[in-house]
């Protein structure tokens, strides 16, 4: 193993000069070796937890430095629960909840009122959670909370704003093949989860057209209850006062049926495939290859994280980008998600003429990491990097309280981050090889290339039988 490198200064003259003049500062010469003193302790902010009578689970952190207050809530809902023939329902519900206004105010009136206050109150529904975000200057808190409560208890889902949101959705469908990167992400996700899976399916003109206002009202009614809600609040307040204010403002939001959230299963069959999307107007291929990944509650996650760092930086980045000059952006890592399996993938964008060459290198590196132990130096670098940057998990109070709230939402232990650190400290070379062998199957990856095949260095068929994916957008019904 190469000896640890330190900076060697060659300016001996300067060192000498500094000695002679005897600077007031204790240190007289530039150093070329460093021994770091202890880091000042991380002062953990106090996270106050409480549950309101209507069931909202609160996480509060006082942060008096600036006169602002922020709130983020997660509500047990998600697009994975929408019917396949109404794909887009969750997203439309989440946005029209806010833009469609309340019984007493239109969404436009709310826009104006909030922007005049420089406040935001936003709602949305993503794949695995509904989201509520509020950001406000301290002095306007009561006004913003009143608006939020009105939205949650009296949403109007006005038809005109549903129609506007549909126009936006359809426009996005019409534009979805304009960008090669989004084609690649979308189609790869389809290969991993199945294109009809709740984790990968697309909105289409037909699914958007099928959605009615009543569908929004019903979807909202099924999931958006205070007892399905986890809420983080941080900023310039006293926790006791904040709990009282939230209790008063959100009290009228009545309990409903708790969501059980039966997350759809992912049934993945490991296989080798080669897939191609024709994009005749580009001179660079977008490549992704991989297979299904896993969950964050896997006890092997610390070792997987270290393996990821070595695979993506030490191996893929250093070889494909630095040594070969083949790509600007290179990655390769085993993805783990909270409640459904993530994706293990490698990706790069390279000129058409080096497409198959780059894929070959990625496949070689995958094989290598499952065949040989990493070096001592690779392991040490990856572990040092993780452990020395651990302090950045506590960089801000908002980051800390948001993480705790998300962990609670997904049913993870609140000391998850601390446990990961303890796990990483113990990772060995043998662990890295063991998890690479257990979780990575270099012989069974699915390869996706989006690009212009006429310009490739070798035909993709040299990698296996090629499945051509048609990305033509199904036309809207007249």
């Amino acid at each position: 193993m190469r000896k640890r490198k330190t900076i060697k200064t060659s300016i001996a003259g300067l060192c000498l000069l500094a000695f002679i003049t005897g600077a007031a500062y204790a240190q007289k010469a530039p150093k070329d070796k460093f021994v770091f003193g202890p880091l000042n302790p991380i002062k953990m902010p106090k996270v106050e937890r409480a549950e309101l009578p209507n069931g909202i689970k609160l996480f509060l952190v006082e942060d008096p430095e600036y006169p602002t207050i922020d709130l983020w809530a997660m509500v047990k809902a998600g697009s994975v629960f929408e019917p396949a023939d109404k794909a887009g329902l969750a997203s439309l519900t989440g946005s029209v909840l806010r833009t469609g206004g309340t019984q007493s105010k239109t969404g436009d009136q709310i826009d104006k009122e909030l922007e005049t206050l420089a406040a935001t109150v936003e709602t949305g529904i993503g794949q695995t959670a509904g989201n509520i975000r509020v950001s406000v200057l301290k002095e306007d808190l009561d006004k913003a909370l009143a608006i939020l409560a009105d939205i949650l208890t009296n949403p109007a889902f006005r038809e005109d704003k549903l129609n506007l949101a549909k126009i936006q959705q359809k426009t996005m469908i019409s534009r979805r093949n304009d960008d090669i990167g989004s084609i690649t992400d979308r189609e790869f996700s389809g290969l991993m989860y199945g294109k009809d899976s709740p984790y990968a399916r697309q909105t289409e003109y037909a699914t958007i057209d099928a959605i009615t206002r009543q569908d929004l009202v019903d979807f909202y009614g099924a999931y958006f209850h205070p007892n399905n809600t986890y809420m983080a609040v941080w900023g310039d307040f006293k926790s006791g006062d904040m709990i009282a204010k939230l209790k008063a403002a959100l009290g009228p939001w009545k309990k409903g049926k708790p969501s059980t959230l039966p997350w759809p299963k992912v049934n993945y069959e490991f296989r080798s495939t080669v897939n191609y999307v024709e994009k005749p107007d580009v001179n660079q291929s977008n490549i992704m290859l991989g297979h299904i990944g896993g969950l964050m509650n896997n006890p092997d996650l610390p070792a997987l994280n270290i393996m990821n760092q070595i695979l993506s930086f030490e191996r893929m980045f250093k070889r494909i980008r630095t040594d070969e000059g083949l790509a600007y952006s290179v990655r390769g890592d085993y993805g783990a998600s909270y409640i459904y399996p993530g994706v293990f993938s490698c990706g790069a964008q390279t000129k058409s003429q080096s497409t198959v060459y780059a894929i070959d290198i990625m496949l070689q590196e995958l094989k290598k990491i499952t065949e040989q132990e990493v070096s001592d130096e690779e392991l040490e670098k990856a572990k040092d990097g993780y452990l020395n940057s651990y302090v950045f998990n506590f960089e801000s109070k908002s980051q800390i309280v948001n993480r705790l709230m998300s962990l609670a939402y997904f049913g993870y232990p609140l000391d998850f981050t601390e446990k990961q650190k303890a796990g990483v400290e113990k990772v060995t070379k043998a662990d890295v090889l063991r998890v690479a062998r257990k979780y990575i199957q270099p012989g069974k990856v699915q390869i996706l290339v989006v690009g212009k095949k006429e310009d490739f260095d070798k035909p993709l068929s040299s990698l296996g039988q090629v499945n051509v994916i048609d990305i033509a957008i199904p036309a809207p019904k007249k």
Binding site: K5, A24, P30, K31, L164, D281, N286, G325, D384, S389
Partner: protein
């Protein structure tokens, strides 16, 4: 090593206007300003330190006052190439044996020059070209044997650097690090070495990486293509004309010596400003800076950019045909960030084009339903020099850019006649304050703001001091700047025309 514009926008700098009077939880903005300490080294390098002891981390921001606007024909993209090369190490970092390595590197450059000379002849000797090419590849391998791959990155990341990166824009090149705060001296050592003893190794391979970056960001992106052509037409003389990434042919031709010359010219200490925000003490940071950075010899401040964009003689228009839906840019020339008209132009851009209650969103998206996005921003592509205020529209399915353009013009005419309302001005003032507060919470963004203000606006204090100018903006000012700048002969129209 991303190539992108600053993540904060000068639009937020004016945000301070009402803030002076606004009492902060722990302190006032005047109070923060007073805590900022500066130190200028004898060689001209300036340090700005803001102590923040909440969390034991520290953000470093090195602002080199050089960007693609300093480039000329033949070397477009070189600022960004140099940014990438700054990660390749020094005479001690990134090499196993610098003395031996440097000889091979020189040989390599020599063979490359011979190869290019032969290729550029009217009738190149193909056999000779092939022979030189083989020799070049051989030497490249030989040089590689001396390299410790990405050692700079390794050393920084190993010490926990959570933000090691750099950005090149039209105006500046900025290097950032974010370290546990007990690594202050380590940063001083690593960074001073970077500017004192840089070695531009692995140069030809890195050029290839940058060409891939160009394909990724411009050549495979319809909006990237439009942006490049739009700037090229809007600026016929000033170097905002070309993209930060540079032209492909320049990327293929720039030599290692060009980069060394460029470094020598623009990376002297008098052209560097460093902002440090976090858990460090200024009275420790300054002596350390003296110790480490004073080793860099002083040099003259580079000559300012000579070329100025002349007056525009008529409306300009540029189109890009692409397999894409339509996209529209409308850009009008406006003065630089130091201009007295800048605050009113910021207010105009914000009121017309930012947020759901902005005029463009209200008219194009909500009422006419002809766009899904309509916005406006100033300071495009930079703001150190006279730049553009740009209106952007993404048309709704089945609608056209022409419809969007007509609606934008309608809104512009209204402001030219009636100006904006008091209510809108208040909204602008409050939202910019709030945006600024959000940015100030972050060490990284605070460091970026202090450095930017010091270099571009003429003093870090300007972040706080220009409040008075902004407080004074009236509806009449907005109307005046709208009438002065938003005129057809001063504009460029850029469009993506969908290809069948």
């Amino acid at each position: 090593m991303l190539r992108k514009k600053l993540f904060f926008r000068p639009a937020f700098v004016p945000a301070l206007l009402v803030l002076l009077s606004l009492a902060l939880g722990g302190q006032s903005f005047e109070g923060i300003k007073k805590q900022v300490k500066t130190h200028v080294l004898p060689n001209g390098m300036k340090l700005i330190v803001l102590e923040r002891h909440d969390v034991p981390v520290v953000s470093f921001h090195v602002y080199a006052d050089v960007g693609s606007a300093n480039e000329s024909y033949g070397i477009t993209g070189i600022s960004h190439i140099l940014e990438h090369m700054a990660f390749k190490g020094t005479t001690t970092v990134g090499t196993k044996d610098f003395a031996a390595e440097s000889k091979v590197l020189e040989e390599l450059d020599d063979v490359y020059a011979q190869m290019k000379r032969e290729e550029s002849k009217a009738a190149p000797d193909q056999a000779k070209v092939a022979e030189l090419k083989a020799k070049f590849q051989d030497l490249e391998k030989k040089a590689k044997d001396y390299v410790v791959n990405n050692e700079y990155f390794d050393m920084m990341m190993r010490q926990g650097d959570a933000g090691v990166n750099a950005y090149t824009s039209s105006d500046a090149t900025q290097y950032i690090n974010y370290l546990p705060s007990n690594r202050l001296e380590f940063w001083m050592a690593m960074t001073s070495d970077r500017f004192l003893n840089p070695v531009f190794r692995e140069f030809y391979k890195e050029r290839d990486v940058i060409m891939e970056e160009r394909r990724l960001g411009v050549e495979t992106q319809p909006t990237g293509k439009l942006m490049e052509d739009f700037m090229a037409v809007a600026f016929k003389a000033h170097p905002y004309h070309h993209e930060v990434i540079g032209h492909m042919s320049d990327l293929q031709s720039i030599r290692r010596q060009d980069v060394a010359d460029y470094f020598k010219k623009f990376y002297g200490p008098s052209n560097l400003t460093v902002a440090v925000v976090g858990d460090v003490k200024a009275d420790e940071a300054f002596p350390l800076a003296d110790l480490y950075f004073s080793r860099i010899p002083s040099g003259p401040k580079p000559e300012p950019v000579r070329t100025k964009e002349p007056e525009q003689w008529g409306e300009r228009r540029v189109t890009v045909s692409a397999k894409s839906q339509p996209f529209l840019f409308l850009g009008y020339h406006i003065p630089d960030a130091k201009s007295k008209d800048n605050p009113a132009l910021e207010a105009l851009a914000n009121i017309v084009g930012r947020g759901r209650s902005s005029r463009l969103y209200q008219n194009l998206v909500k009422d006419k339903k002809i766009a899904i996005q309509a916005s406006c921003m100033s300071g495009f592509p930079g703001d150190k020099f006279p730049n553009l205020i740009v209106f952007i529209a993404v048309s709704a399915q089945g609608k056209t850019s022409a419809e969007c353009q007509a609606a934008i013009e309608e809104e512009i005419e209204k402001i030219k006649k009636e100006s904006v309302t008091e209510e809108e001005l208040t909204k602008f003032k409050r939202s910019t304050i709030k945006g600024l507060l959000g940015q100030m919470k972050s060490n990284t963004q605070m460091a970026a703001m202090l450095a930017y203000a010091d270099v571009v606006l003429g003093g870090y204090e300007k972040v706080f001091d220009q409040i008075a100018d902004y407080r004074a903006i009236t509806a009449e000012d907005v109307k005046r700047v709208a009438n002065q700048y938003l005129v057809k002969t001063n504009r460029t129209i850029g469009e993506i025309i969908p290809e069948k």
